[in-house]
């Protein structure tokens, strides 16, 4: 039996890796992958703690919804990034800055 603290530790680590990727990567697709890491960290938490919620199964249910929504968000974001590429020939969010103060 793996204790719960291990799950929390791993999910915390995943979240931090994801956040690091979001903040440091200079490629929109890499940022999306970072977002995916963060979402999966949360999903891991939800599933692990669903163990204590046997009757309603809230955590497990939530995990299913979160997976589907993550897929939808990624699909939309990829379409948008493709669009950006056709106009800018580049998907580095730090260099695409026509809109600014």
């Amino acid at each position: 039996m793996i204790p719960l603290s291990h799950f929390m530790l791993i999910s915390g680590l995943l979240f931090c890796i994801g956040l690091y990727a979001v903040l440091s990567k200079r490629n929109a697709i890499m940022i999306l992958i970072g977002i995916e890491f963060m979402l999966n960290a949360a999903i891991l938490n939800l599933v692990a703690f669903g163990k204590y919620d046997k009757q309603v199964m809230g955590g497990q249910m939530f995990a299913l919804f979160a997976i589907v929504l993550a897929a939808a968000t990624v699909a939309v974001s990829l379409a948008i990034i493709l669009n950006v590429y056709t106009y800018h020939k580049n998907i580095d969010p730090t260099t695409i800055d026509q809109l600014r103060d």
Partner: protein, 498 residues
């Protein structure tokens, strides 16, 4: 498995009982399907049929929402407490239907969207979907519903911003919005998973939720709550999560900007109120404070007012200026949230209603002036007051209302918020409220400077290059004029609403 078998009948029973109250949303779901089918048969330029079906469905749903609102006496908890319908949610639902209807007509009247190669059909089919998300957001009282509805709005909004990507700027705005939104929602989901881990329930009104939180160390609760506030704050675009809003407002087509600055923002306030409710109720029952929202929300409010109003002074682009001014308004509204008394909530709802009308009308006039003259910057507005008299006069009235000058509705809204805050201050004498009040008063004066740049340019300065400009007036102009009249009427006779 057998341990669940006994539970199934009661679960089914609660779902069956909830469905009659879910009628407005069921209508929207049906409309969504119908609109998709209609859009398949009438693509491109024939999209007016799609619009017709969409508007009819939304109107029917609005009708049921109104019926539901009138029949409502006490808060209803549906589907095991994941949705709550009360008076506040009812008002928000009616308001959202109104906003989406005006937005639909705004799309219809916008030449840039109508002339687009793909036609505006796909944009119309997003409307029932986004209204469904907004309604759910107003009612949700479970963590799952909160996440689901926020994501629903976000995904639709990304599509709206990116829809007519005919310029590099617009695709840039869509990318910034989608990436920023994705990160915020991931952070929020992590916060929700922590809250679930601490309490073992997803339902905010469940007593186990607050009891579980009160047994956890305060720092852990604070982290989880702040992570959730990040997600809500993205929708509200308060400081420090406001970076996306000026860029997205500037890059997106005007109707979309008008919608983004009203719909999701109002829904964000609805959800914030619902999220704060259990904490305040728990405190009122004499328990120890689980998480002190006062300093956090006050700091957010103060910094939003300062950043929004001062940054707006330097803007030349009308959309950017309105974006910063809407950040400033969010700060002011945070003050009403901090007060959190019955009067505070009433003031908040009144102001949100007026704010929605003001912003919608302001963006419609900005679009009309842009179509007629090509002016997108305030400095291009020189002398336009003579050609676009009707538009400019109404625009100025709206700006006066945004500033909060009598006799307009914006003034009444500000008075209500200030009185609620002063009442609360005199009973608690909290330093945070005093600071909020002072900053709100100062920034209201500051806002005069940037709002009045528009009439200054339009009426008092002149320009030579305005020979071939003619105002194109259509139904949209008159809708906006009616909205402006409403501001005037409710400013003089606020008793009709309060």
């Amino acid at each position: 498995m057998n341990e669940f078998a006994s539970q199934v009948p009661s679960l089914m029973q609660s779902i069956r009982e909830g469905i009659p109250y879910f009628l407005p949303e069921i209508v929207l779901i049906a409309t969504f399907v119908c609109v998709i089918v209609t859009d398949l048969f009438f693509p491109g330029k024939k999209s007016v049929y799609t619009l017709g079906v969409g508007i009819a469905g939304i109107a029917v749903s609005l009708f049921f929402s109104v019926l539901q609102f009138q029949a409502l006496s006490e808060p209803l908890r549906l589907f095991h407490g994941s949705l709550t319908i009360d008076r506040v949610a009812g008002i928000f639902k009616i308001l959202f239907s109104g906003i989406v209807l005006v937005y639909a007509l705004f799309i219809r009247g916008n030449t840039r969207l109508q002339d687009h190669v793909k036609g505006p059909g796909d944009l119309y089919l997003l409307l029932p979907g986004v209204l469904l998300g907004l309604n759910l957001m107003a009612m949700s009282s479970g963590l799952l519903m909160i996440y689901l509805s926020i994501e629903m709005i976000s995904i639709v909004s990304y599509l709206m911003v990116g829809y007519v990507s005919d310029s590099p700027r617009q695709s840039e705005a869509a990318m910034k919005y989608a990436l920023f939104g994705g990160v915020c929602s991931a952070i929020m989901l992590y916060g929700i998973s922590l809250l679930y881990a601490f309490t073992g329930t997803l339902i905010l009104s469940n007593p186990a939720f607050m009891n579980g939180l009160s047994e956890m160390p305060q720092a852990a609760v604070a982290i989880a709550v702040i992570l959730v506030l990040v997600g809500i704050g993205f929708k509200l675009s308060f400081v420090p999560l406001h970076f996306w809003s000026p860029d997205v407002y500037e890059g997106a087509p005007l109707p979309v900007t008008a919608f983004l600055s009203t719909g999701p923002k109002l829904a964000g306030f609805a959800i914030l109120l619902r999220f704060l409710d259990p904490y305040y109720a728990f405190q009122a029952n004499g328990h120890a404070t689980v998480f002190d929202f006062m300093p956090v929300l006050s700091l957010i409010g103060i910094s939003s007012m300062i950043v929004g109003n001062f940054a707006a002074i330097w803007q030349d682009n009308v959309k950017r200026m309105l974006a910063y001014s809407s950040i400033g308004h969010t700060g002011l509204l945070m003050m009403a949230v901090v007060v959190h008394s019955a009067n505070g909530v009433k003031a908040l709802i009144f102001y949100l209603m007026m704010y929605a009308i003001m912003n919608m009308a302001a963006f419609i006039f900005a679009a009309k002036i842009e179509e007629g003259s090509g002016a997108i910057n305030i400095s291009d507005y020189k002398g336009l007051g003579r050609k676009f008299t009707l538009e400019m006069v109404c625009f100025v009235v709206i700006l006066m209302s945004l500033t909060g000058l009598p006799p307009l509705a914006g003034f009444i809204g500000k008075v209500l918020i200030f009185t609620a805050a002063i009442e609360q201050y005199s009973s608690t004498s909290s330093v945070w409220l005093l600071l909020l009040l002072i900053v709100a008063a100062i920034t209201t004066v500051v806002s005069l400077f940037y709002y009045f740049k528009i009439p200054l340019n339009a009426f008092l300065r002149s320009s030579e290059k305005m020979e071939n400009m003619t105002p194109k007036r259509d139904f949209l102009t008159y809708i906006a004029v009616v909205l402006t009249m409403l501001l005037l009427v409710w400013g003089i006779m606020p008793g009709m609403l309060v």
